[in-house]
């Protein structure tokens, strides 16, 4: 059972990281649970080998002990002799979450770890819900940090907050275009911008593609943020800066990732489901979606044929720098 189980254990799946748990502990726990499941299966039947043992010969009249060839199971592969069959598994982690954040965490097992790098190079956006609290400022922008300042927040209204968020989204939109190294004068780039498909395909600072307020009940407010190349600390700093723009202060009480690329909350496995069978089912369920999405995001966009320039490499895989269309933008 063990090796058959291992064969189905290659691919990506998503786990829900609860707050307070370090991502490394989660990865280690998942590895231990998988090993437990793999080792729990029945071991294969032991090999037999022929040994010459002393035994009474049947059918002879003399009562002598003679050597007879008998097939005896060898004990060299028995788990009690040489230990459990599986002692380590390679489990990789996608975009990390720090200890206080919670949400979807993508993990890759076996050959799925290669898909993790593909996912990273696809530069997909992630969705977060960020909960903020007005009236306090702390040193690490979290609720339980060292208190720096306390302010009033009666003057804050929903309209002011929406205005600030629209400002933020606008400025990040400009940054998006700038970091994607696209010349907006071309037709293809314009069409992509209209459809909202522009995003940088290389390293860039945190960029917010969308931000809006879901719920506003002072002092609490709930934001939904779509961003890329972020860290959770930068999101908390964003809440702090929103507080400053509103001429008050704010701290962040919860950062929760609801979507990482194409893995949503529904695909994420809870702590009770971190065992071999649920993970295998999750990998099987996610496999077709992973394949189509990765192929789509690494292919040149809009389906236009790319004319190879004089020094343009002929490979069809997405280059690590900007979108392929920039080669057309050169003329």
């Amino acid at each position: 059972m063990g090796s058959a189980g291992l064969a189905r254990l290659h691919g990506l799946f998503a786990a829900y990281k609860p707050p307070g748990l370090k991502w490394k502990h989660l990865r280690d726990t998942v590895e231990l649970q998988l090993l437990k499941g793999l080792n729990a299966g029945k071991p294969p039947a032991p090999e037999q080998r022929v040994r010459f043992l002393l035994g009474p010969m049947e059918g002879s009249e003399e009562k002598e002990l003679t050597l007879t060839a008998t097939s005896v199971p060898t004990l060299t592969d028995h788990p009690l002799v040489c230990g459990p069959a599986f002692t380590s598994l390679k489990v990789g982690v996608g975009h990390r979450l720090d200890a206080q954040a919670s949400g979807v965490l993508v993990l890759g097992v076996g050959r799925g770890r290669r898909l993790l790098t593909d996912m990273y190079n696809a530069h997909l956006t992630k969705d977060y819900t960020v909960r903020g609290l007005l009236g306090k400022a702390t040193d690490d922008f979290c609720e339980d940090g060292r208190l720096v300042e306390k302010t009033t927040y009666d003057h804050v209204t929903r309209e002011k907050l929406d205005r600030i968020l629209a400002l933020i989204q606008g400025s990040h939109q400009k940054a998006l275009v700038m970091y994607s190294n696209l010349d907006l004068q071309t037709q293809e780039a314009y069409e992509m911008a209209v459809r909202g498909l522009i995003r940088p395909m290389n390293k860039s600072p945190m960029l917010i593609t969308g931000i809006r307020c879901l719920h506003f009940a002072p002092p609490e407010f709930l934001l939904e943020v779509q961003c890329m190349h972020e860290t959770q600390k930068q999101l908390r700093r964003l809440v702090h800066e929103i507080g400053l723009e509103l001429k008050t202060t704010a701290v962040c009480s919860q950062v929760r990732r609801t979507r990482d690329g194409f893995f949503t909350l529904d695909d994420a496995l809870l702590r009770t489901q971190w065992d071999l069978y649920s993970i295998q089912d999750a990998i099987q369920a996610a496999a077709p979606r992973v394949a189509t999405e990765l192929e789509r995001s690494l292919r040149p966009g809009l389906g236009t044929q790319q004319l190879p320039g004089p020094d343009q490499p002929q490979d069809s895989k997405g280059p690590s720098s900007a979108l392929l269309l920039e080669s057309c933008a050169g003329h």
Partner: protein
């Protein structure tokens, strides 16, 4: 070696191999002289054949003990009024028990008697339930007693009551104890006398307590005061599996609980 292996189904050689001198020790033993007598002695004590495997995986060094010493130690335990079945259970759960000399066992029993100030019968029951108290180090136990008294503020009779119910509390991790107590007492606002009645909370993982408490607060059912209606006792909060907890205590479905967990 082969007849040994065939007899002792269940001894995990892989684990024994990890100790450095184990292999030397075991190979030097002769089957007839040493091993057979000790095996028969263990069977006399009441350890079954299938349990011998796990016993020897932990304490393979028992073969190097003198049979007379083992008999003296068992006689000592019997003199302290431990029944035959009790001794068998203790040896099963703490394989190293018989490798301790009589005076060491005496010191340990005396320590627990003095420290906990329980009656003789209760100390005996405690040791039978958790025999590794006698084989483990005494420092963590002393630390934990200080923590309970000074840091958490329990009175001596309260500590005695909790320990007779859950002996594992004596050897629990100090940091986890303080974290659990901090959450239960300060966040869930449960006073000392109710915690004493349900010491199982110290035996459960903290995240479980947190998740269930937050779910009940979200549903508005977090009532831990026995005087008020809809009271939920702590042992029902922690000791039940998820399905029964959701059905009976939270009166919600398991799917709702999972959806709630994904919003934390």
């Amino acid at each position: 070696m082969q007849p040994c292996l065939e007899l002792l189904q269940g001894v995990d050689l892989a684990k024994i191999e990890k100790h450095r001198d184990a292999a030397n020790l075991l190979l030097r033993l002769e089957f007839e002289k040493d091993i057979k007598q000790i095996l028969l002695f263990l069977k006399d004590l009441g350890i079954e054949d299938n349990q011998l495997g796990t016993f020897l995986t932990k304490n393979y060094a028992i073969f190097s003990e003198d049979l007379e010493n083992l008999k003296t130690r068992v006689a000592y335990l019997q003199s302290k009024n431990f029944g035959k079945a009790d001794i068998a259970q203790m040896v099963r759960n703490a394989p190293f028990l018989l490798s301790f000399s009589v005076e060491r066992l005496d010191n340990r029993l005396g320590f627990f008697q003095k420290e906990l100030e329980l009656s003789v019968k209760k100390t005996r029951d405690l040791v039978v339930r958790l025999p590794r108290l006698l084989t483990g180090s005494l420092e963590p136990v002393k630390e934990n007693m200080k923590v309970y008294r000074l840091e958490l503020g329990f009175k001596h009779n309260e500590i005695q009551h909790m320990i007779t119910k859950i002996p594992k509390m004596l050897t629990a991790n100090k940091r986890k104890l303080t974290e659990t107590f901090d959450y239960v007492h300060n966040v869930m606002n449960i006073p000392h006398h109710i915690i004493v009645r349900f010491p199982q909370v110290f035996n459960t993982r903290l995240f479980k307590v947190k998740e269930r408490h937050l779910f009940l607060t979200y549903l508005g059912r977090a009532q831990y005061d026995p005087a008020k209606p809809n009271y939920i006792s702590l042992d029902k909060l922690v000791s039940m599996p998820d399905e029964i907890f959701c059905e009976k205590i939270a009166k919600a479905s398991v799917r709702d609980f999972e959806k709630f967990l994904k919003t934390l």
